[in-house]
């Protein structure tokens, strides 16, 4: 049983790597032909002002880039964080796929792997209880596989062998990390378990005979006490030894840290000019320390592309980071810093203008065609003695358009109350019904006619879009409202409503910020408030000077857009014309930092 342990050491050290090396060497017999220079001065630092999952790497480009370098391969040290589970699983399932693909007969070997996979799938490999079983299977699989690779005749496809060896390497990466994790957890590692069993098994066998496995647990009392004590002592000792061994292994791991490649990156043109490039490693765990290495890789162009051929790759010596870097989380998300500036500019402008308006200065704004129609429509409804229909979209209160629709409703309801017209508000959401009742009630109160307010005219129909529309279509055809307002979020129903309204000859005013529905409202309604105009409508309609301030503020926002676009386009065009490195960096800065 101690064999297992030796195996473990073996795996960590020589033979496989030798085999693997041999395999790859066979595929690339003339590696010495080409020397790729490594990148230099690799530095890693925590990305500041982020959520603690990014580290920025910077390195000087390798000598001979771009002619002799196709790309850079970035590696990062394996963590002992949850990632290991996935790596392990990936490695095993890759192996499994290899065997499926190669059409190897279902011998013991593949059975082993399948058993492992099944174990992992069913229990999840976090389950400590199955650890022993599981690692044992894995070890069997490895051993058999190595034998198979050694034994296979040269007629076997070379690529297949290389593939398997690569996958074995991956597995090799994965297992120690996995065990190191166990070590960290302070639970029994598989090595310890195995060592303990190695001590226990012969004793049990001696006492209970060959079929001791069957029922030793029940018969454990039958073991003489002194033997039991001795056994426990031995087990403890074995565990200690194994633990020490694992610690040594882990330490060895630390020295020859395991890496995995995360991405192949090419320098941008301007980076080539600068001779320096950087890369942001994402998705890191802020509880971990990371080491990185970067190599330069040259891929030879293939002359004749045959089935299954692997292009030759020449990889340089790595540039490595010496100290581990731990990503940290800051209290402010720096990526969003420019955003906060825009928010401040836009909101600040709105607030300042509101303040200016409150101080009594009259702000001039242009007229919007659809808005005069509002009073006209209400007036006509009164004349004709028919109701007004107001629909504030089909979305719930968590849509700002619904809220904007309600503010328009407040104004329409006030006018209606003054004219003594009947206003009907069917809603498609319960919360909107509640809010609309508040709104209309307030409007009636403001108009000095709280008694005329009838709660039952503001009612809920159904949440379903087309159920709601079916109801509206029927109701509009029957009640023939003189004026219809559609203010809020609308989807496909826009045209059903507008066409029905049109067929009964109602004045229709629509306002929405749904670009897809605007054409239908534009085509079938009398007036349409397009996009931003819809949000502006409430300010116009209220007539309150402070509301006008918000419109001025919005214009400042549009000016910011204009300035940014013009500067950006100018710089981008200059960069495109001149090909200047600095200008390209500037464009990059504008796009990726200022407008992120």
């Amino acid at each position: 049983m101690m064999q297992e342990h030796t195996l473990r050491k073996l795996r960590l050290l020589a033979p496989v790597i030798m085999i693997a090396g041999a395999g790859i060497a066979q595929a690339q017999p003339d590696e010495s032909e080409r020397m790729v220079h490594p990148p230099v001065d690799l530095t890693a630092r925590d990305k500041s002002w982020d959520g603690g999952e990014k580290i920025t790497l910077t390195w000087k480009l390798a000598e001979g880039d771009p002619d002799n370098v196709s790309f850079y391969r970035v590696y990062r040290s394996l963590t002992v964080a949850p990632l290991h589970v996935r790596e392990l699983h990936d490695a095993v399932s890759d192996l499994h796929d290899d065997f499926e693909e190669l059409d190897i007969p279902r011998d013991q070997l593949q059975q082993c792997i399948e058993n492992v996979l099944q174990l992992m799938d069913v229990q999840g490999i976090d389950d400590h209880a199955d650890l022993y079983e599981y690692t044992r299977e894995l070890r069997h699989a490895r051993l058999s596989m190595e034998r198979w690779i050694q034994a296979t005749s040269p007629t076997n496809a070379e690529t297949a062998r290389i593939q398997i060896i690569r996958d074995l390497d991956k597995l090799d990466d994965a297992i120690p990390t996995y065990e190191a994790q166990r070590e960290d957890d302070d639970s029994e590692t598989s090595a310890e378990k195995i060592a303990m069993m190695a001590v226990t098994e012969p004793v049990l066998q001696e006492i209970f005979g060959d079929d001791w496995k069957e029922d030793w647990e029940e018969r454990i009392e039958e073991i003489p006490q002194d033997v039991r004590f001795q056994l426990l002592e031995d087990r403890d000792q074995a565990e200690e030894q194994a633990e020490a061994q694992v610690a040594r292994d882990v330490a060895a791991l630390g020295n020859q840290r395991r890496y995995k490649s995360i991405e192949d990156v090419k320098p941008e043109e301007w980076e080539l000019h600068r001779g320096k490039m950087s890369y942001e490693v994402e998705k890191l765990d802020r509880r971990e320390k990371y080491w990185f290495k970067v190599t330069a890789v040259y891929v030879e162009e293939m002359q004749d592309v045959g089935e299954g051929a692997i292009p030759r790759e020449y990889e340089s010596e790595p540039a490595m980071t010496v100290a581990g870097v731990q990503p940290a989380r800051q209290w402010f998300d720096g990526v969003r810093f420019p955003l906060s500036l825009y928010v401040l500019i836009v909101c600040g402008a709105v607030m300042i203008y509101i303040q200016i308006a409150r101080s009594g200065k009259i702000l001039k704004v242009r007229t919007i065609a659809g808005l005069e129609a509002v009073d006209e429509a209400v007036g006509r409804a009164t004349e004709m003695g028919r109701p007004i229909m107001f629909i504030c979209g089909i979305q719930d209160m968590n849509d700002i358009q619904t809220i904007a629709g309600l503010t328009v409703l407040s104004r329409v309801a006030k006018t209606a109350a003054e004219y003594d017209a009947k206003i009907e508000v069917p809603t498609s959401r319960s919360l909107v019904m509640t809010a609309a009742r508040e709104t209309v009630q307030a409007a009636y109160l403001e108009a000095g006619r709280p008694d005329a307010y009838n709660e039952d005219l503001i009612y809920y129909v159904t949440d379903e879009q087309f159920g709601f529309v079916a109801y509206l279509q029927g109701t509009m055809a029957r009640e023939k409202p003189a004026a219809c307002f559609y203010m809020g979020t609308f989807f496909a129903e826009s045209l059903i409503l507008a066409e029905t309204g049109n067929s009964i000859g109602a004045i229709q005013v629509a306002g929405t910020a749904m670009p897809a529905q605007l054409p239908f409202f534009v085509a079938a309604c009398d007036y349409t408030l397009i996009g931003e105009e819809f949000f502006a409508a409430s300010a116009y309609l209220s007539g309150a000077p402070e509301q006008m301030g918000s419109l001025k503020g919005q214009d400042i926002g549009k000016m910011v857009v204009g300035i940014m676009v013009i500067i950006g386009v100018a710089v981008a065009t200059l960069a495109s014309v001149t090909g200047s490195v600095h200008l390209n960096e500037a464009v990059e800065f504008i796009r990726e930092t200022m407008l992120r």
Partner: protein, 361 residues
């Protein structure tokens, strides 16, 4: 008016006659019939007597071979250790006939009355809704009343099972919910979810005349959080990202050979000009006169092209929707066409037509 009623009565009678003929002249039962496949579902609890949690597996699965209890016939398993029911999967007449020819005694496919009624109801609902295109009528009103009732309740049910149970009850009282609704739930209680519960109760205070004012609190909370989320969300997603996308060079060179790419340059110029001019249209502070007016006019042109494009695209979708409704009527209900060959050969339709025309002659 009377004449119209008469015409409609005749049309409807004729329709009914055609339907009856279409139903009766079919060789294999009335048109619009639905067929199902009965799939027995059998489960066995294979947990050991000592275990608290039962472990159920399908009696017919491969896994069942590992357990001794499944070696005996299903009926012999103790009643508390087994559960079974029949699941009815959608099937087609073609499959039914195929199986009937080979193995009529144990045909898993069968006629389904409930689903046949369903198809007929669905077909009538479809016609009722379309009838509104002629004019409002009692049939449409029936369909309208049904759709309101059914859909309102539908969303309430969805809200209950998909929101209230997992996200409110499941967070506050996981142990209890686990007992009856979500057996697999393994979460510690999260008492933060008492906040929406309290807000919800405040909202319901509206039902009592005195408590109406307090129901504004949850509403205020909702509106506040919505405003907060949308403010940053829109500025980030739409405002910034659209500016970023517009930062493009207006003179473009082909990256492969360095020659001037007039097409890409032109498109980029149009995009930049379009965005800026359309934005000028939305300016509120300045009247649309002079240069501003002209630019705004250009902006409107861009908007109009955008609207036209959206219109053209949308038309496609609407027609496809209508086509699928007609396919439902012609295929599932009337069995006039059979585009995906779900039934027996089409000659039946020919038979129907010939007998119909024979009837008329």
């Amino acid at each position: 008016m009377k004449k119209e009623t008469l015409i409609w009565t005749i049309v409807m009678l004729l329709g009914a006659v055609v339907l009856v003929l279409n139903a009766t002249l079919r060789q294999h039962g009335p048109a619009g019939s639905a067929y199902v496949e009965a799939v027995p579902q059998r489960f066995v609890d294979v947990s050991d007597p000592g275990e608290i949690e039962p472990y159920w597996i399908s009696y017919d699965s491969e896994e069942a071979l590992d357990y001794e209890i499944c070696a005996q016939p299903f009926a012999d398993i103790p009643a508390e250790k087994r559960e079974d029911w029949i699941r009815y999967d959608q099937a087609t007449l073609g499959k039914y006939l195929e199986e009937e020819a080979i193995n009529p005694a144990r045909n898993p496919y069968q006629f389904s009355l409930s689903r046949t009624i369903g198809i007929w109801i669905a077909a009538f609902f479809t016609l009722f809704i379309f009838s509104f295109l002629y004019k409002d009528n009692p049939f449409y009103k029936i369909a309208e009343s049904c759709v309101v009732g059914v859909t309102a309740a539908y969303w309430m049910v969805v809200g209950f099972w998909d929101v209230i149970v997992p996200n409110l009850l499941g967070k506050l009282f996981p142990e209890w919910v686990k007992l009856w609704a979500i057996p697999g739930l393994e979460e510690p209680p999260n008492y933060w979810y008492a906040v929406p519960l309290v807000l919800g109760i405040l909202l319901l205070m509206r039902l009592s005349p005195k408590g109406a004012w307090i129901s504004r609190w949850p509403l205020a909370f909702v509106i506040g959080t919505t405003a907060g989320m949308r403010l940053t969300g829109f500025l980030h997603a739409d405002f910034l990202s659209q500016i970023r996308n517009t930062v493009i060079p207006v003179i473009v060179f082909d990256p492969t050979n360095g020659s001037f790419d007039w097409w890409a340059s032109l498109s980029n110029i149009i995009i930049v000009v379009g965005v800026l001019s359309a934005l000028v249209y939305f300016f509120f502070s300045i009247e649309h006169k002079g240069v501003v007016g002209k630019t705004a006019k250009l902006g409107i042109w861009f908007l109009m092209v955008t609207f036209g494009a959206a219109f053209g695209y949308t038309v496609m979708g609407r027609i496809a929707l209508f086509a699928i409704r007609l396919e439902f009527l012609f295929d599932d209900w009337l069995w006039l066409i059979d585009p995906i060959q779900r039934r027996v050969p089409i000659e039946e339709v020919a038979l129907l037509w010939s007998s119909l025309s024979a009837g008329f002659i």
